[in-house]
Symmetry: C3
Subunit: 468 residues, 3 copies
């Protein structure tokens, strides 16, 4: 009985599109959703009515059409909509402005094979299947390549690039990043392990809603997309936004957690675990997640779609228990000064006031975030030049944020007379004006040895600059 590998837990491959939701009230669902807009579908007896809607209604106009083939996959970009049927292999492309001709094509599927995901850009169309067939077409449906990879579970594309997520019990969970342009056909990353946190059904205390979503999207993937600067992003069932930095270099690329939406909601709710508010991701513009704030028990948006919200990047280093401790200290202090505080006052009226982050923690977070953002920008400028024109300006502002965060930590270290920590912080400071500021802080803290060390550092850097 143990001669074969067939006892593996089976995994059902499902059609997965970025931002797609399960069918809900009134037989409606979103087929896909991103920074550009959203495609929704209503079941109507024999056929489906599809609506393509846009966030920028000045630039695009909403449109409808009927679908008799039961398309269950969708990719939306600024130029068109690609639909796919996972079981039959049917593909259908529609251009938004109707100038270009629409087309329909059939993908061959072998026994048991499903199309799991499709992605369209203005240059390329990518189609991935549960058996690992990856098919690439030009925008008009001309086949350019057929390749076998590990089973594909999700795709996102930008220009000539595709970001693919793979999974099978035999191949693990991995991702690829490759490009098929007129001049190059190259993998930046090939089936590297993807450090996605997977749904933990056994541990669940969150009940049926999550289970329902996992049934719909087995890996719990809410969305995947390229950021405005071209970096691959992933938003999974743990509500953490992961971003792949320096993806062009296999030895330098890293998946960075740049936002824990649960933590942000907790902070917004004044330190409470509000289970009635959820974040549904759309896209990432520089340091801001564009998203839908969903209210209610469902984790995905229903109809009509609320207006998009913004949530800023925050590197997840905050420790809730420490924040609560500090908050309680602060409150008991302020209650002391005000006079008698009522438990109602703290537990009732103020309950949705944003919680305060202890200054050291906040400075450490800002330090890391400035570093991450400046690394991303530098990589983007080096490879693609200035995309929006203000990148170098942002970079110098990030350098200043970085040094300011260090100065705040430095002031703290001085207050605690922690010479070793203070010295190690001085080494990290980038700009001379920040070193001058550090000197003043050390003077005020009456630490002449430290002042001397900073001055030595300044001189050493000055000489180094002259010699180079």
């Amino acid at each position: 009985p143990n001669t074969t590998v067939s006892q593996y837990p089976s995994f059902r491959y499902k059609p997965v599109s970025p931002g797609a939701t399960p069918f809900g009230r009134g037989g409606r669902r979103y087929m896909t959703m991103n920074n550009v807009g959203y495609v929704s579908v209503v079941k109507n007896n024999e056929q489906n009515s599809v609506t393509v809607s846009f966030f920028d209604i000045g630039r695009f106009r909403e449109y409808h059409f009927e679908d008799v083939f039961g398309y269950d996959l969708c990719s939306l970009n600024e130029e068109g909509t690609l639909l796919g049927q996972s079981k039959t292999g049917m593909l259908h492309y529609r251009s938004h402005n109707m100038i270009h001709s629409n087309w329909t094509k059939m993908i061959p599927l072998t026994h048991g094979e499903r199309i799991t995901s499709i992605a369209a850009t203005t240059f390329r169309i990518f189609v991935g299947s549960s058996h690992g067939y990856m098919r690439i077409f030009n925008r008009h449906g001309l086949p350019l390549a057929v390749e076998k990879v590990s089973p594909v579970v999700a795709l996102a594309a930008q220009d000539y690039k595709v970001f693919a997520v793979h999974y099978s019990p035999y191949h693990g969970i991995s991702y690829s990043l490759f490009e098929l342009s007129p001049t190059a056909s190259k993998y930046y990353q090939r089936e590297c392990p993807l450090p996605m946190t997977l749904p933990q059904l056994n541990l669940t205390s969150e009940g049926d809603v999550d289970k329902q979503f996992i049934k719909f999207s087995p890996l719990g993937l809410k969305s995947l997309f390229f950021s405005a600067y071209g970096d691959p992003c992933l938003f999974g069932s743990d509500n953490v936004l992961l971003l792949l930095s320096k993806w062009r270099s296999p030895s330098e690329s890293r998946w960075l957690p740049v936002l824990d939406a649960n933590m942000e909601l907790w902070k917004m709710s004044g330190g409470k675990n509000n289970t009635q508010i959820h974040v549904w991701p759309l896209g990432l513009n520089y340091d801001t997640l564009n998203c839908i704030l969903v209210k209610g028990k469902n984790i995905w948006p229903e109809f009509p779609l609320p207006l998009p919200s913004e949530m800023e990047m925050r590197i997840p280093i905050l420790v809730k228990s420490r924040i609560v401790e500090e908050e309680e200290k602060r409150k008991s202090k302020s209650e002391d000064t005000i006079g008698e505080g009522t438990s109602d006052g703290a537990g009732g009226g103020q309950q949705n006031e944003e919680i305060a982050i202890p200054p050291t923690m906040a400075a450490e977070e800002e330090l890391l975030r400035s570093k991450v953002l400046s690394d991303l920008l530098k990589d983007s400028i080096e490879n693609d030049g200035e995309v929006f024109g203000n990148e170098n300006e942002i970079l110098s502002s990030l350098n200043w944020s970085y040094d300011k965060a260090l100065l705040r930590l430095f002031a703290g270290a001085c207050a605690e007379q922690n010479m070793e920590m203070a010295t190690s912080l001085v080494k990290e400071i980038k700009q001379d004006k920040a070193l001058i500021a550090a000197t003043k802080i050390a003077e005020r803290a009456e630490l002449p040895v430290l002042v001397k060390k900073i001055n030595e550092t300044r001189e050493a850097r000055f000489e180094e600059q002259i010699n180079n």
Copy 2:
């Protein structure tokens, strides 16, 4: 009970040799099989009789010997035969021409460890085990290296190179490609995910025969080998030939499906699923799979071995349902012209006539195939020079096939007045003479705008050539 990882489904490591078959009628089986020949064994009471046979009987002479050790692994090359015993670790090398001395050697195995595969070339001997020990010897059995890798399940070798397939529940299914030559010791690919389609026993409707083979070869691997141009190839239980193109470059290598034998059999059978004919792979010569066509319910060949057949590469993009539709249209048309067609006529007499492929589909397939073959050849010429002397000639013929396929698609697009598609096809055309042909097609279709675009393209290329 859930503290350990021991609940993993167990996998029984089996001795796997390229092209080997299970024991069949009369206690006989093939121990290995490839382009050079085949090694067969008959159980004879206490010992086994081994026969080494060759396809080129002008060059090689068949020979026999007795085996008292129960060898269950075999590798055959143009110079000798290597045998191995998976449980005891015994190795035995025999030279075909008997000039070189034969030798026997013992491989150490730890508790529960098995040799799973061996591979011999005229320069190197590779031995892989279920615990991941990879041992490399020179042809005379001198140990050159011992390395630990993920558990090995199959090996094929050429000159100083080895292509290894790895599997374990903890490490997934992967492959390596490395070389240990007198001057270099390098990995081209190291334990990269192998996009092999694995046996789907749960889904099986094909019954006991396949199960029997999976019991014999747990991953369903029928054969693995290097092509005549030195590219690694794999033929698994899905009867698709996979070929690794550009394997020297980690960022450009891709597994290409270059032949779906099931589809070819279906076409040969006039669009029927004939379950009584199977393809057993031997090797790949340029664009042609050398194989045994097996008739009957077994998927592997019995005794005596039928003569080898040839099957040409075909990129799997054909859609059966579309082909059948077109075929039915065509038939009903021809029946209309002939008069009354009988259902006997269609279902009986013509049943084994090869089915016709719709012209657009055929052109798309040829387009992709010419591209694949020319990429393979270019990579081979760049790295190894011309191996057979006619490579550059073949290349220019492939360029012409590529352009011809584009012209056929172009003619189709013109007929449908699909200007966008037609224009995108023009961009792909490589040769000026093909562009001239395109002009004529566009003129005939009365599309002067298109003619103008082609002429512009020609001029732009002409100028570019001059400037370079």
Copy 3:
């Protein structure tokens, strides 16, 4: 029921530190152990008493402290001790010499997340979690980076480098090797499959002791560390020391099995499987494993700790059955010469005499070992220069060992008149003086053809040298 991936066998992430042992008699255990020393803990009602001890008592002084937080992770280096609590995320750093200030810090953990491992060097602190969060700090606890990787199960660090082991059912077992220095942030190896032999509980005949250890350390990892020359090493449940050679180059790195402790114990016990002696690893100095020889049924050391022992590298190519055969031949011969041997004599008195290795096997082992050691040294010298000053001297001695081993094999091949083998050995010889020795051996064996071949080889090399 089969729509999700939740049926995977669960794996309980445990706190793992290099050389750590489970709690034993008297509520004591070692929290970590390496070449520098060991940290032990005793449970005392409400709190734990921790002792940091050193092997070099001239250089370091043992110290104690009380722990009220229940730290269960530990990393010890020459400058300090880092402690961690897997469930709360508490970290505590203590400097050995007390000049530097100690510090305490909290790591944020999400629902169900555990810190699985920590590693401290004099420059960096690395913290890995079961959800794959890798956090890097400077020595004073300043956060430098947060990254998401596959779940981490063990860590070891040296200077700015970290060697991480990852595992999850979805990601397989893999390792990373990366560096975060002031000037570079780069991966040498990123989540590559780790060819570790995993505990085989199903096959176990060794009973409860091993099960107990696997419960404590689910992957059976006894220790991981960097060698004195900076190469990552791993010692798992199979008691084989694995070393990663040429780790700076993704295409050349290889995991080499350099010592099978079970085999060495078997040899030391005169060819018996002594289940009452075990090897507990501390570190690797050049070609010698520093370890604790543990006596009794437990595989890990108890209190007090025995003095460290040394075990030399041996490439695992010895075949026990062959050694026993030869030994028996040898014994029966010597018994014949002595007169009547008593079975007591062989089975009793001499039982712990080290078993003799047949000369060919010993020469093959020495050949491989000299090659491995010289490759390691060359890589180290090329990249880091001479670390201890005597590296080039060792290298030339290794070259000589290599040639001597070849000469011994050559003499054997001559004795057997195996011309082909003898010729292939001549090609491997590196030094001219060894070729001269080979000439003499061939002359003595009366093989003039071989003598001529050697002379030709010498002349060819001589001319090549002149021309270069």
